[in-house]
Symmetry: C2
Subunit: 335 residues, 2 copies
C-alpha cells in the first residue's frame, strides 16, 4: 500500500490556505446569503481540486500562492455545483450536515449557488492584483467557463439518464466526463495555464485529469453503495433512490436475470423505495459482480491517467510525485 502521509499533509496545508482565500472572496451583504453560500465550505471537504490546481501549477513552476488563489476559484465553483445539485437531487445531507436548501429553503439555496458561481470568477479576476498578466487571466477564465458549461451539460445528462431504463457504458462515461472530470481537468489546467505551460504539456495534463477524474467518479459511485454512512456524510443508496445510472447499475442490469432486472427497475429512481428494498437491490448488484467490473474499469482509467502524467516534462518533480499519489488516493480511497 502506498504511503499517502506526505500528500495528506500537503493537502491539509493547501486546504487551510485555500479556505482563507475563499472567506476573503466570499464575503458581503446580506449576511444570510453569504452564510448560506459558505455553509458547505465550512462543513469540510478535502479541497482536492485546489490541491490539483496548486500541483498542476507547480509542475510548470507556478508560485504556490498564485496556485492557491486560483484553486480557491475552482473550489468555490465546485461548491456552487454542490448547492444546486443537492436541490435537484433532493439530498438532505452532505459532508455530514444538512444541505443548504434544507436549512435556508430552496430560493436562498438557488441564490447562494448563483453567488458562488459569480465569486468563482471574481477569485480568478483578483489575480490581476498579484502580478498575473491579463492574457493568462483570460485563458484561465476561459478554462473555468468551459468547465462551468460542461458541468451543467453533465448534470443535465445525469438527470436525463436517471429517467432512462437502457443506458450504455458510453452514455455513462460521457456524462461522468462532463459532470466530474471536466472540473478536475480545469482545476489542473488553470494552474498550468497560470504557469505559462505550453499547449502540448497542457494537453498531457488534461489527459491525466480526465482519466483520473473518471476513475474518481467510478470510485465515488462504488462508495455510494458500499461505504459506511457516517464516513460518507450522506445516506448510502441515495444514488439508487434517485435512479442514478452508475457503472455498477449499468453492469448489473446487463447481467441480471429477468426477475432481478424487474426488481432493480422497480427500486431504481423510486422515491418510495424502503431502506430494505434499497439494501436488497444493492445486494443483487454486488452479487452480480458489479464491484469487480467497476474496480477493473477504474483501474484502466487510472493507468491511462498515470501514463499521461509520466509523459509530462515538468520542472518540479515533487509536484509530479504528489500528483501520482493524488491519482491513487482518489481512486482507491475507502470513504
Amino acid at each position: 500500500m502506498e504511503d499517502f502521509t506526505d500528500l495528506i499533509n500537503y493537502a491539509k496545508k493547501i486546504a487551510a490556505e485555500t479556505d482563507k482565500v475563499i472567506f476573503e472572496v466570499v464575503s458581503g451583504e446580506p449576511r444570510f446569503l453569504y452564510d448560506a453560500s459558505l455553509h458547505l465550505v465550512k462543513a469540510g471537504g478535502k479541497r482536492l481540486r485546489p490541491l490539483a490546481t496548486v500541483l498542476g501549477g507547480r509542475l510548470f513552476g507556478l508560485k504556490e500562492e498564485i496556485g492557491v488563489r486560483a484553486g480557491a476559484a475552482v473550489e468555490i465553483l465546485h461548491n456552487f455545483t454542490l448547492v444546486h445539485d443537492d436541490i435537484m437531487d433532493k439530498d438532505d445531507f452532505r459532508r455530514g450536515v444538512p444541505t443548504v436548501h434544507k436549512l435556508w429553503g430552496e430560493n436562498i439555496a438557488i441564490l447562494a449557488g448563483d453567488l458562488l458561481f459569480a465569486k468563482a470568477f471574481e477569485a480568478l479576476l483578483k489575480l490581476s492584483d498579484y502580478n498575473v498578466g491579463h492574457k493568462a487571466i483570460v485563458k484561465a477564465i476561459k478554462e473555468l467557463c468551459w468547465a462551468s458549461v460542461t458541468v451543467a451539460e453533465g448534470q443535465a445528462l445525469d438527470l436525463s439518464l436517471s429517467r432512462l431504463e437502457s443506458v450504455t457504458l458510453n452514455n455513462y462515461v460521457e456524462m461522468v466526463y462532463k459532470k466530474t472530470a471536466a472540473l478536475f481537468k480545469a482545476s489542473l489546467c488553470i494552474g498550468a495555464i497560470l504557469a505559462g505551460a505550453p499547449d502540448e504539456e497542457l494537453s498531457k495534463l488534461a489527459n491525466y485529469a480526465v482519466n483520473v477524474g473518471i476513475a474518481f467518479q467510478i470510485r465515488d459511485d462504488e462508495l455510494g453503495l458500499v461505504a459506511d454512512e457516517r464516513k460518507l456524510g450522506k445516506p448510502v443508496y441515495s444514488d439508487l433512490r434517485e435512479g442514478k445510472k452508475t457503472v455498477l447499475v449499468i453492469y448489473a442490469l446487463s447481467r441480471a436475470s429477468k426477475d432481478e432486472r424487474d426488481f432493480l427497475l422497480s427500486v431504481l429512481g423510486n422515491e418510495k423505495a424502503t431502506k430494505d428494498e434499497l439494501k436488497q437491490a444493492a445486494d443483487i448488484i454486488l452479487s452480480l459482480g458489479a464491484l469487480d467490473y467497476s474496480n477493473k474499469l477504474a483501474s484502466e482509467y487510472l493507468k491511462k491517467g498515470l501514463e499521461a502524467l509520466d509523459s509530462i516534462n515538468e520542472v518540479d518533480s515533487e509536484a509530479k510525485v504528489l500528483l501520482r499519489k493524488l491519482a491513487l488516493f482518489v481512486t482507491k480511497r475507502q470513504y
Copy 2:
C-alpha cells in the same frame, strides 16, 4: 411627447443582431437543456440592455459589432436571472409564455439558468477573437462579475423584504439598485470599457445608468399594478401576491388608516389571496396617491440620470441623443 421612432428602429436592428450572437453562443448538447435555456430569449423581450451596451460603447467610439457581441453577454446574463427569479417567485408566465420551470420543471430550469450564467462570460471571452485586447476583456468581465454578485445580493434582499412588514424607502432603493440598476450600469459600462473610456467618464456613465435603472424599476413596479395583463405578458398583481415591497406599497402603508393597513397586510404575500382581494388592495394603494408619489420619485431619478449623461464628453453625439431617449422611454413606457 417625445418621438421615439429612431430609438425604436435602432433598438430593433440591435435586437436582431444581438439574437444572432446569442444563438451562436448558446448552442450545444444536450438539446433539451439548450432549448430550455433559449426559451425566454425566443419569447421576446426588448433587448434594452444590449442596446445600452452598444450605445454606451458608441459614446466613446466603440464599433457597433463589438458592442453587439458584448451586449449579447449582458442579455444572456439577464435571461439567467429571469429563469431563476421565476422559480423563486413561483411565476407561471413571462413575456406572454409559460416560464421555463413550468415547461421543463424546476431542476432543468435551475440548470438552464446556470448554463446561461456561464455562457454570458463565454460571450465576453469570445471578444478575444475580434481583436479586443486582454486588458479590456478582463475589465469588462470584472464589470459583469460585479453585476452578477450584486444582482444575487439584490434578489436576496428582495426576498427578505417581502417577509418584513416595515420597509423604508431606503431599503427599497438599495434593493432596486442591486437587483436592477447594477446590471443596467454594467450593460452601459461594459460598452464604454471596451471603447477604452477613461475612468472619469465611466463614472459619469455609471451615474446615468444607476439613476435611470432605479427610475426604470419604479416604472416597472407601477406597471405591475396598473398595466394591461396581456401587454404585460404576466399576471398583474403578482407583485402583491408575492408581498413585494414596491415604492407604491411602501408609500401606501405609510399613509393607510389602521383598517386599510390591516387589509393590505392580510393580502400582501398571501398566496391564497383572491383576484378580488388583490384588486381591492390595488385600489386602496392607488386611492392613497401612491402612483403620484411614485411618478414623482421616478422623475427625480430620471432627472439626475439625464444630468449625468449631459456631463459626459462623448465622441458620438447621436449615441448621446439615443441614450437620452432610452432613459425617457424606459421610465415613461405604458407597458
